[in-house]
Subunit: 215 residues, 2 copies
């Protein structure tokens, strides 16, 4: 049985990744406050992905319907009578025991890039998928994926030029591996889409193993 | 000094990768016959990237001009009076000592995917960059980059479904890591754009070290 996939995230990069594999999905961004109780990157991304997925899943369960953006931005109400998978995800960069989220401004971005330059850091994406069948939660899958990323050394000039492109500003760790940032990436060990924001392989394989079709 | 970059390849994926990093470039595909004298993947991609770059560079040197596709597909002649970098690249997949190029048809694609399923293979991209200054060749850079790719096991059904998408047909090793193929990729070790067709990081860093600006 094919499930309706709902992405509980407004991230344009996650949207693009799901589109890459030909998935049909609706976007219902979670809007709740993010509450972190851990300082470990693994637990942080699990917690935040869970909060996003749970908020959206609970709203659907309350009414057995969900709203999606229809034509001309009008909201369209849909019946959640078939199977639904709500997917929440969160990505952070971790380096020497510190979590790097999105930079607060240009100086923060420069500071992050200076830390990462010439070094190897980890990118963690946490994923929570809540499965709803006939208006009830029947399953919940939660995991994180780690990818190690090694960056070439960046000169002060290169860091400033890269910050000036604006690309670092909305990205964990202040770089975009899928954009201009690629020229500073020496190698990765692990899943590539995981660095962009969603581990496509693991998401698909885990759903497949549970008999849940999304493609 | 900023050089005019010329991509000696018609590959839409290499074009997209160069666009990703904000490079301005012209495309002049090499059309000559590909001649392979080695059975080693490293040497094969070096040889083929060299043939592509050399063919295009020599045509430019003959006339000090080059033709590019202008508006409405009209050919436009440009003066090669400033610095020019001609970039040729070739990508193959290697598994257990065998080179896998583009599949010859659906059956060949299935055969390749069956080999790669559940295993780790290598992707080699060879790059040759020929630098022209004032109508003379002043430098030539040549290297290859290897990335190891581990695929999840694919069932017979999954292989058929994937071949049916048509995606494998024009790709070395019969899969596209940047497309639907992503759901079968468990991990990579090395540079990601290298698997797509051009190691962006190494290309930029090697030109940078030689004082050749392309961005």
């Amino acid at each position: 049985m094919k499930y309706q996939l709902i992405l509980a995230s407004a991230s344009p990069r996650r949207k693009k990744l799901l589109a890459q594999i030909g998935a049909e999905f609706e976007i219902i961004p979670a809007t709740g406050e993010e509450i972190i109780t851990s300082i470990e990157p693994e637990e942080t991304v699990l917690e935040l992905s869970g909060q996003k997925a749970r908020e959206v899943a609970e709203n659907i369960l309350l009414s057995d319907t969900y709203f999606v953006q229809g034509k001309e931005n009008a909201l369209e109400q849909k019946q959640a009578d078939k199977g639904v998978v709500v997917l929440g995800a969160d990505t952070v960069v971790a380096f020497q025991g510190r979590i790097l989220g999105k930079p607060t401004g240009r100086e923060d971005a420069s500071r992050m890039l200076k830390m990462l330059s010439g070094n190897t850091h980890s990118v963690f994406t946490g994923v929570t998928m809540i499965v709803l069948d006939n208006g009830k939660e029947t399953k919940s899958l939660s995991f994180y994926e780690e990818t190690k990323v090694t960056m070439y050394p960046m000169t002060e000039e290169q860091i400033q030029a890269y910050v000036n492109t604006g690309e670092p500003m909305d990205k964990a760790g202040a770089y975009g591996i899928q954009g201009k940032g690629a020229i500073y990436i020496e190698k990765i060990v692990g899943d590539y889409p995981n660095v962009v924001g969603l581990p496509l392989g693991a998401v698909y394989q885990k759903l497949e193993k549970s008999g849940i079709e999304i493609l």
